[in-house]
């Protein structure tokens, strides 16, 4: 049976492949179009908002690097705009997939896809990393608000805090990830998940609009291959 989870993961993978293969600025359009169709069909605007929240600091980080490299002409790390767009698309697809997983039963979906043992642990670590960093970033931002470092609440004021947030963000996220790995190991996460999900397993048959979200990026990849490489 084709399940919702497998289609979602497939559409995410198609977007990732497309992002890696495309060579022009239109890289983002089909991905965004496919995602918008999905959101309209499912009315998951809350998910869209969460994707945007996750994406914002990452996009701003790349844009910040780009702007810095323009200002400092001697800098050696100038990044082509296409690479930035490509990374943005990758992060969007990753964010899209992981945010959906976080809100629903991510582990169940991974087991649906046949992952087990160490593969399951690695995949779970990957999909829990972004929400972990997202919540850590939110906590650090709140701490800076509460400490009076950000005088007035505005998008611009918050954006200027980005350089100060990145250091503690990675340090704290790493510490939390290490603590979490100890907990997972002690609680035999992989074994318990596989054992228990066999009992509580509940997959849902895919719907037409979800198939569309997979078909759109798939078509996009074919289009890219035809126009760019043949």
């Amino acid at each position: 049976m084709i399940t919702t989870s497998s289609v979602r993961v497939a559409s995410g993978l198609f977007v990732v492949c497309g992002a890696l293969l495309a060579r022009r600025w239109h890289i983002l359009i089909p991905a965004l179009f496919g995602l918008v169709i999905f959101f309209l069909a499912t009315r998951q605007f809350a998910t869209l908002r969460r994707c945007a929240i996750t994406m914002t600091p990452i996009v701003m980080m790349f844009l910040g690097i780009q702007l810095m490299s323009r200002v400092l002409s001697s800098a050696q790390f100038q990044t082509p705009w296409l690479t930035i767009l490509r990374l943005c698309t990758l992060m969007l697809a990753f964010s899209y997939t992981t945010v959906l997983f976080e809100g629903q039963d991510g582990a169940e979906k991974l087991i649906d896809l046949g992952l087990k043992n160490n593969g399951l642990i690695i995949a779970l670590s990957a999909i829990s990393t972004l929400p972990l960093m997202q919540s850590t970033a939110r906590r650090i931002t709140e701490a800076r608000f509460a400490a009076g470092f950000i005088g007035r609440r505005s998008i611009f004021a918050t954006a200027t805090q980005l350089p100060y947030i990145l250091g503690p963000l990675f340090t704290q996220a790493l510490r939390l990830a290490i603590a979490r790995s100890d907990t997972w190991h002690q609680r035999e996460l992989s074994h318990r998940l596989q054992q228990n999900l066999a009992v509580i397993h509940r997959s849902r048959r895919v719907r037409s609009y979800e198939l569309l979200t997979a078909l759109l990026p798939a078509t996009w990849i074919v289009f890219i291959i035809v126009t760019e490489f043949l």
Partner: protein, 412 residues
């Protein structure tokens, strides 16, 4: 239950005792003992840190799902459900474990330990955030539903709402500690300018669909006084603090400071400096010294603030490398460094021993004498005895004023 005192040289967990309490001051080795018990138990163990949040896997959207994933059997899962329901906290099952309040997280973590079928549970100072209704029964209730033994450390072990235990291990101070004692005499005498805060018809909630709504019809807070905010777990104490500091937007009502209405959401920390319940939510710099200086502490006062809060660590240390008890003290020091007229301290005594609690009370009285207004959220009875504070009760999100807390408890 009959408490049976064991010496520190006894086995850390008597095989006959379902629950063992580790008593002792800070840095007496309680945490190390609990870690040793957990490590010896291996996969049969379950450790709950003082900040509790690390007890959750982070991959489940709700506590119920977490139990689905990690329960050893359907019976164990049912026992976990029964345990949580018996404490009248069934609503937390449908919530994300990471979004629960401190006391709720403690109950959730114990529920997970029951569901997991753990045989040795080590809980490090995590019952201090429980309210007076839950604390006395938590361990008994746990033992009734769990098949495992529990060892726990509790700084509020001398209070009358202390959870009952079958045995206790008394650990003396080691004498070799890298932390100093707190000393209120190092707090500066410089006056603090502060204005009265008047709250009228204030309502707030985390979500428009949220059943919980904080409601404060009228509350006047005068500078130079200490207010003790009390209420059951989940009654909205932290919510009120977050509204006052500007981390949560009020739905309606007004907050007036110095005769002018203040939009705390637009200007966070404009009138109030907040010490978070979990210090890890607050400390956001890479060095101890930077935590204090960045908040506006004059450089010549950094050392005295470090001494006042008993932080003998190098100013270049990373806050994350400190033990919980010192991270909590550092978060208090950082809060006092922000030059505001009001200070809100959410569970300032978490992880602190009796001596430190008394000294924190003196520090607060010294700050109040300088003119600062202080709001304390705490379940600690001992702290209330030391503190000359006016009580404010929150019940089901509704706020009401109590009398003098020290008179109610009787001093010391």
């Amino acid at each position: 239950m009959m408490a049976q005192s064991l010496t520190s040289s006894s086995s850390p967990m008597d095989p006959l005792a379902p629950s063992v309490l580790f008593r002792g001051p800070n840095f007496s080795g309680r945490s190390a003992r609990l870690h040793a018990i957990n490590e010896a138990a291996g996969e049969r163990g379950f450790f709950i840190e003082p900040d509790i949040i690390g007890s959750f896997s982070g991959v489940s959207p709700t506590l119920n799902t977490e139990l689905d994933y990690f329960s050893s059997s359907l019976q164990a899962k049912k026992r976990a459900h029964d345990f949580i329901q018996s404490l009248s906290m069934g609503t937390i099952l449908s919530r994300n474990p990471l979004s629960l309040s401190g006391g709720e997280q403690a109950v959730a973590a114990l529920g997970l330990a029951i569901g997991h079928g753990s045989e040795r549970i080590a809980a490090d100072c995590c019952f201090e955030q429980l309210d007076r209704q839950l604390r006395p029964i938590i361990v008994d209730c746990f033992s009734a539903h769990s098949q495992g033994q529990i060892a726990y450390a509790d700084n509020r072990a001398d209070e009358h709402d202390t959870p009952a235990c079958d045995g206790s291990v008394v650990l003396p101070a080691t004498g070799e500690t890298f932390a100093a004692s707190l000393d209120h005499r190092f707090i500066s005498d410089r006056p603090i300018e502060s204005n009265a805060i008047v709250i009228r018809d204030l309502t707030a909630s985390y979500d428009s669909n949220d059943e919980f709504i904080l409601s404060v019809p009228y509350l006047e807070l005068e500078p130079g006084r200490i207010y003790h905010l009390v209420g059951q777990n989940g009654s909205g104490k932290t919510t009120l603090c977050r509204v006052l500091v500007g981390l949560l937007k009020k739905t309606q009502g007004s907050i007036v400071s110095g005769g002018r209405e203040t939009n705390t959401w637009a200007r966070p920390a404009g009138i109030v400096s907040l010490a978070f319940q979990n210090p890890d939510d607050q400390l956001c710099m890479n060095k101890v010294g930077a935590e204090l200086v960045a908040r506006g502490c004059p450089k010549n006062e950094v050392v005295s603030m470090i001494k006042a809060l008993g932080l003998p660590v190098s100013l270049d240390s990373h806050p994350g490398s400190l033990p919980f008890v010192l991270r909590k003290r550092l978060s208090l020091a950082a809060t006092f460094c922000l030059p505001r007229g009001w200070y809100i301290l959410d569970e300032p005594t978490l992880g602190q021993d009796n001596e430190s609690i008394a000294e924190i009370a003196l520090i607060l009285e010294r700050m109040a004498a300088r003119g600062a207004g202080i709001i304390v959220v705490s379940h600690s009875e001992r702290f209330a005895q030391h503190l000359k504070a006016v009580g404010i009760l929150l019940t089901g999100g509704i706020c009401a004023e109590l009398g003098d807390r020290r008179e109610q408890y009787g001093r010391g």
